[in-house]
């Protein structure tokens, strides 16, 4: 999809040296490779120096144990950075909160190169990436502010979570892999359209409308499920 000769670049903020080294290895092995800047756990390096120019920020949510960096995530998203959250947290609430704050992807550290590299590539283009664990979190989301999802969308989310293989999901549900992706992206667009506005989220919604992934009417019905919701935004 990308026509530019410049390789995708990403900056990783993670205080675990082994994680940073592992991600660097995955990025170098990727075809085409991803250029990785290691901010070595220092958030300042994301804003200045080579890290400031990186297309994607790979953020460890818990640089200080027990204190997730939601504020930093919000600042990054508000200044238009494309963020992939890479976290050891596996609970639903954290995953959904990151998505609501405008992260383009949320991956748990159990998910390896097969999800992180595609997530970085998608984020570099301003597209969301939904890994199986985030898919499960969205399928099990029972907060009152969740957007309305169609039964088919729920089915795809569950199947992607269960199998972690889009080919299997497609084969089981008798659809193409592209359609599987479409359903998942539609869910993400619906999520992007609720909650607080963020630059990457509005870009995402605009893009989904441009591509005809969703119609304005669908978006409105998905975005206004409850009166409480309106008060919140």
């Amino acid at each position: 999809m990308s026509a530019d000769p410049e390789p995708t670049s990403a900056v990783i903020v993670d205080d675990h040296v082994a994680v940073a080294a592992g991600v660097r290895y995955w990025c170098e092995q990727a075809v085409p490779p991803v250029r990785l800047v290691d901010a070595a756990g220092a958030l300042a390096d994301v804003w200045t120096g080579p890290g400031a120019d990186a297309d994607v920020v790979v953020l460890d949510l818990e640089l200080v144990p027990g204190n997730p960096e939601f504020g930093e995530l919000r600042r990054l998203v508000d200044s238009g950075r494309r963020v992939v959250v890479y976290s050891q947290h596996v609970d639903n609430a954290t995953a959904i909160k990151c998505i609501e704050l405008g992260a383009l992807a949320y991956l748990t550290k159990r998910e390896g190169a097969e999800h992180l590299v595609p997530a970085i590539r998608a984020a570099a283009e301003g597209l969301p990436y939904t890994g199986p664990s985030l898919s499960g979190a969205l399928a099990a989301d029972d907060t009152s502010t969740r957007p309305q999802l169609s039964p088919r969308e729920m089915q795809v989310l569950r199947a992607w979570f269960a199998s972690s293989s889009k080919e299997l999901v497609a084969a089981k549900l008798n659809i193409t892999v592209k359609t599987v992706d479409t359903y998942i992206t539609r869910v993400r667009v619906k999520y992007a359209n609720v909650g607080r506005p963020a630059r990457t989220k509005s870009e995402l919604v605009g893009r989904a409308l441009d591509d005809g992934l969703l119609t304005l009417a669908e978006l409105n019905s998905a975005a206004a499920p409850t009166p409480r919701e309106r008060r919140r935004s």
């Binding site: 596996v90 159990r110 099990a140 269960a162 199998s163 972690s164 299997l168 084969a171 089981k172």
Partner: protein
């Protein structure tokens, strides 16, 4: 428990009988006999009012015992004052005796206060009764030595009188003490019997539960074990190895079922997955959402297909649970061969399988019967 209560009741009824009998004896001896001696010797006494007062004091203590008997209460905190009253009456009556009348029928108190004191102290240990009787005797001795002429006659009267005054109440006290001892022993042995019965009941229940659980694996595990034992199922055959793996997982699940955990479904699935993990199969395990705890039978059906797939997986398996109040779905994707899936017995559970060339995907879904919990969607 009820045995203890019945025993206590019987014990208190028996001791109550003893109390009533002692009270009657004391009333006859102290009030009737002592009273008649007092009345007949009124003209001999120098201090009639004091004698009558001490008689009333004894009468009051016996009336107190009668009242407590009706109320079915022990003396408790009133015991010391009551004994003080009895001893005071004994002292009052003794020191106001006319000269040379110690241990005669005029000294009515000598043979009366001892029984009244016994009534008050009947349920106390023997040494307390002994101490009281000794005090009573000491009053009589001191009275004789200090206030009267110590004659040979007086000493003889004291000696012969003391045999009755101390001996009879002491005999009654010994009898009461023996009865109490027997009942304490009976109570202890009854409690021991109860304990043994409880232990037996617990053991029987544990055995019954084990039998029940054994029956659950007997249908599948026992033929396999018998086959292994008689050689009809050689362990080097792949299908036999498969059956062994499945049975081992089934047993692990059975053991996990009796654990008290917050989320039994996940707990049991983890045990199923653990076995695959030990075989070197890479198991990914993930669960999302909150769901009501399924009943044991449903949990078995939800985990059964997963168990088989996990036990026979070659190198990789992904186990996931996703659920909410309306639907719980357990999925296993694994590189196992064809897995035969039994139709679930419960109408609420559905099992679907999907196979590709190298992967098997088994999904078991449970839709809890409507219990009035409104769906959020």
């Amino acid at each position: 428990m009820s045995g203890d209560a019945a025993e206590e009741l019987a014990r208190s009824q028996l001791l109550r009988g003893l109390r009533i009998a002692t009270l009657l004896v004391a009333a006859v001896i102290a009030l009737a006999l002592g009273g008649s001696h007092l009345v007949r010797s009124l003209d001999v006494h120098d201090h009639v009012l004091v004698q009558v007062t001490s008689f009333v004091m004894l009468g009051a203590v016996l009336a107190g015992e009668a009242a407590l008997l009706v109320l079915r209460r022990p003396w408790g905190r009133l015991r010391r004052p009551a004994i003080a009253v009895v001893l005071a009456a004994s002292v009052l009556s003794s020191v106001t005796l006319p000269d040379g009348q110690t241990s005669t029928t005029v000294d009515w108190m000598f043979g009366a206060a001892n029984f009244v004191g016994l009534v008050v102290l009947l349920d106390r240990p023997l040494r307390i009764v002994g101490a009281f009787l000794a005090t009573h005797e000491l009053i009589a001795v001191l009275n004789l030595v200090l206030l009267h002429d110590v004659t040979r006659d007086a000493l003889l009267r004291l000696a012969t009188g003391s045999v009755n005054v101390i001996g009879v109440p002491l005999c009654v006290a010994v009898g009461a003490s023996a009865v109490r001892g027997i009942h304490a022993a009976a109570l202890a042995s009854r409690q021991e019997i109860e304990r043994v019965r409880t232990r037996e009941a617990v053991a029987a229940e544990a055995h019954r539960r084990r039998q029940h659980r054994f029956a659950e694996i007997a249908a599948t595990s026992v033929p396999l074990l018998e086959g292994l034992a008689d050689g009809s199922l050689p362990p080097d055959r792949p299908d036999v190895q498969r059956r062994c793996a499945v049975e081992a997982a089934r047993m692990r699940r059975l053991f996990a079922e009796s654990d008290t955990v917050e989320n039994p479904l996940l707990h049991e699935l983890r045990h199923c997955a653990d076995l695959a993990d030990r075989k070197g199969v890479v198991v990914e395990f993930d669960a999302r959402g909150h769901w009501p705890t399924p009943p044991l039978a449903v949990r078995r059906e939800l985990t059964d297909a997963a168990l088989t797939a996990l036990a026979t997986a070659a190198s990789w398996a992904r186990v996931t649970v996703v659920g909410d109040a309306d639907l719980v779905s357990v999925s296993v994707v694994a590189d196992c061969g064809d897995v035969e899936v039994h139709d679930p017995a419960s109408a609420d559970v559905r099992v679907e399988t999907f196979a590709t060339d190298d992967m098997m995907w088994i999904e078991a879904r449970w839709q809890p019967a409507r219990q009035g919990t409104p769906s959020r969607r």
